[in-house]
C-alpha cells in the first residue's frame, strides 16, 4: 500500500523540501526529454533511491500490477495508432476482411514513441510512491508550506493522501457487506455483470466519503482552521549539511541530464 513506511534510511531523514524539489524537477525532466539514455539514467537513479530507502518495491503490490498494465496499454495503443514513415507492417488488418480490411500500419516511429511514453509513465509512477512512502504526511505538508504553497492547499494534498488507506479499508468493508447479501458478481460475475453491479460498491463509497468530508469540514471549522493567516508549527524542519549536499547533487544531475538531452 502506498503510505508512509517508517524507516531510518538516508531518504527517510532527507528534508521533505529536497524530496519535493527532486520530485518536481525529475518529473519535468522526464516530460521534456525524448531520449532513452536520459530516461534510463533517471530510472537508474530512482531505483538506487528505492534500494537506499530499504523499502522493497514489492510493497506496492496491486499498484505495480496497474503500472505494468498501464504501460503495456500505452505502448500498444501508440504502436497501433501513432504511425510514421518507416513502415514495419502494413496493413494490420488483411485486405480480405470486409469494410475495415487494409487499414492500419505499424511504423518504427510509432513503436519508439509508444515505448517512450511507456517509459516516461513508468519512471514517474515509480518516483511518486517513493517520496510518499519515505515521508511522513505531516512533513510533506510542512515541506510544501515552507516552499511557499498556501497552507490550505498543502492541507488538501495531505488530507487526500491520508484518506487513501481509509478508502481502501472502506472498499473492503462494503465488498464484504454485499457478499453477505449473497452477492457474487465482484468475484465470479461476467464483465457485464460486474459493470452492472458497480452501484452496490460505488454508491455507499461515494455517499460515505461525502458524509465524511462534510464532517471533516465541520471538525476543522470548530477548531478554527484558517482563522489566522500565519501559523506556527509544533514540529519544524531544518536543512542540514546532508540535505544541501543531496540537493546540489540532484540539481547537478538534472543539469547534466538536460545537457545530455540537448547534445544527443
Amino acid at each position: 500500500m502506498i503510505k508512509y513506511h517508517a524507516g531510518e534510511s538516508f531518504l527517510h531523514k532527507l528534508d521533505p523540501r529536497v524530496k519535493i524539489i527532486m520530485l518536481l524537477i525529475l518529473t519535468i525532466l522526464v516530460f521534456v526529454t525524448r531520449n532513452f539514455p536520459v530516461l534510463g539514467l533517471v530510472f537508474l537513479l530512482i531505483m538506487i533511491c528505492w534500494k537506499v530507502s530499504g523499502i522493497s518495491i514489492r510493497e506496492l503490490g496491486g499498484y505495480l500490477k496497474l503500472l505494468v498494465g498501464l504501460v503495456l496499454f500505452v505502448v500498444l495503443i501508440q504502436t497501433l495508432f501513432q504511425g510514421g514513415e518507416t513502415i514495419l507492417i502494413s496493413p494490420i488488418i488483411p485486405d480480405f476482411v470486409p469494410l475495415i480490411g487494409g487499414m492500419g500500419s505499424i511504423a518504427v516511429e510509432g513503436v519508439l514513441f509508444g515505448l517512450l511514453l511507456g517509459f516516461r509513465l513508468m519512471v514517474i509512477m515509480c518516483l511518486m510512491p517513493l517520496i510518499i512512502m519515505t515521508t511522513r504526511v505531516r512533513d510533506l505538508a510542512l515541506g510544501f508550506v515552507k516552499l511557499g504553497l498556501p497552507y490550505r492547499y498543502a492541507f488538501m494534498i495531505t488530507t487526500a493522501l491520508n484518506q487513501v488507506p481509509v478508502l481502501q479499508e472502506q472498499i473492503a468493508t462494503i465488498t464484504d457487506a454485499q457478499k453477505l447479501r449473497a452477492f457474487t458478481a465482484f468475484e465470479d460475475g461476467g464483465t457485464l455483470q460486474k459493470l452492472k453491479s458497480y452501484p452496490a460498491l460505488v454508491v455507499p463509497l461515494v455517499m460515505g466519503s461525502m458524509k465524511k468530508s462534510t464532517l471533516i469540514g465541520t471538525a476543522m471549522d470548530v477548531r478554527s482552521f484558517g482563522s489566522r493567516p500565519k501559523r506556527t508549527y509544533l514540529h519544524d524542519i531544518a536543512m542540514h549539511g546532508a540535505d544541501w549536499a543531496f540537493l546540489c547533487f540532484i540539481l547537478a544531475f538534472c543539469a547534466g541530464m538536460f545537457t545530455l538531452n540537448v547534445m544527443l
Partner: protein, 279 residues
C-alpha cells in the same frame, strides 16, 4: 436437548499481521436461542462474528453452521443460513428505494419473482417499513436505516440472524424497536445472536450470555447466572445492569435474589418481603 445450529470447535484466529484475535474458543449455540456476546472493545467479538459468517476462515479449529463447515462454503451460500446485520448501515445501502434495497439479497439468490415479492413484503411488515417503501434509504433517520438493513437480511430468510452492535447511535425507542424485531424473529423459531455493549438490553432480551475477554470465552451461561459473577465480569470490564448490582448490594441486608435482571423482579421481591413482615 435442542438441535445445535452453530458449533464452534477449538477456534483460533490469527490475522495476517500475526495478531491472535481468538484463542481456542469452543461453544455450541442451539436452535431458537437468543444469545448475547459481550466484552470490551478488542475482546474478539467482531472477529468471532466474521468467522461465523465465513468472512474469515478459522486459522485452527472448525465452525459448523447448520451442518456445514464454514471452510467448505462460500460467503454468499452461507448467507442463506446465517444473516449478518452490520454495525454501520451506510456500508451497504445503495438502492433508490427501501423496497429495492430489501429486494437485492433475494434477487442475488435467484428466486422467482413471486417469491421475492412475498419475502420483501414480509420483511417490510416485520420491520414496520411499509410506509417508507418508496423512500431513498440513505435519507432516512438512523433508526430507519438500521431497520432497512435488518429487513434486507430477514428477506433472505436465514435460519440464524447475527446483529453486530445494532443499537449504536440509536435512541431508547430505536433500541427497543430493533431488539423487538430480533425477539419476534426468535419467536418465529429462528436463532438470534447479538453483540452489544448495552447491558440493560442484554438483561431484557437475551436468554444466554457469552463473555469474551482477550480472545477467549471467559463466561457462558443463562443471563442471570452470568451477571451474578461480578468478579469474573470485572476482568472483561463488564458491569452487570444497575438493577442487578443494586439487588446484590441489598442482599447483604435483605434476602433478595441477586440474579435479578429487571426492576419488576426486584420490586416484586421487595413487595413479597414487606408483605411477609406485616403478617
Amino acid at each position: 436437548m435442542r438441535e445445535p445450529v452453530i458449533q464452534v470447535d477449538h477456534l483460533t484466529y490469527t490475522y495476517p499481521n500475526g495478531f491472535e484475535a481468538l484463542h481456542d474458543v469452543s461453544f455450541t449455540i442451539e436452535k431458537n436461542d437468543f444469545v448475547a456476546i459481550i466484552g470490551q472493545n478488542g475482546a474478539g467479538k467482531s472477529t468471532l462474528l466474521k468467522n461465523l459468517v465465513g468472512l474469515h476462515k478459522p486459522t485452527q479449529g472448525n465452525i459448523i453452521v447448520d451442518g456445514v463447515n464454514t471452510r467448505e462454503i462460500s460467503v454468499a451460500r452461507l448467507s442463506t443460513k446465517v444473516g449478518f446485520v452490520l454495525q454501520n448501515p451506510d456500508r451497504q445501502l445503495f438502492a433508490d428505494s427501501v423496497e429495492e434495497e430489501i429486494r437485492f439479497g433475494p434477487q442475488n439468490l435467484k428466486l422467482d419473482k413471486a417469491e421475492i415479492d412475498a419475502r420483501v413484503e414480509h420483511a417490510m411488515e416485520q420491520t414496520g417499513l411499509i410506509r417508507l417503501r418508496r423512500e431513498f434509504p440513505m435519507a432516512l433517520s438512523a433508526g430507519d436505516r438500521a431497520k432497512v438493513v435488518i429487513a434486507s437480511v430477514i428477506a433472505m430468510q436465514p435460519e440464524i440472524i447475527i446483529l453486530d452492535e445494532p443499537t449504536t447511535g440509536q435512541d431508547r425507542r430505536g433500541c427497543a424497536q430493533i431488539m423487538d424485531i430480533a425477539k419476534e424473529f426468535q419467536r418465529r423459531g429462528h436463532t438470534v445472536i447479538v453483540v452489544t455493549h448495552a447491558m440493560s438490553l442484554v438483561a431484557e432480551y437475551a436468554d444466554r450470555v457469552i463473555v469474551m475477554c482477550k480472545g477467549r470465552r471467559i463466561l457462558d451461561g443463562p443471563t442471570a447466572e452470568v451477571f451474578a459473577q461480578e468478579e469474573k465480569l470485572k476482568e472483561s470490564f463488564v458491569l452487570p445492569p444497575q438493577v442487578t448490582r443494586l439487588a446484590r448490594a441489598m442482599s447483604a441486608v435483605l434476602p433478595v435474589d441477586h440474579t435479578i435482571l429487571s426492576t419488576q423482579e426486584l420490586s416484586g421481591c421487595i413487595a413479597a418481603r414487606v408483605q411477609a413482615n406485616q403478617m
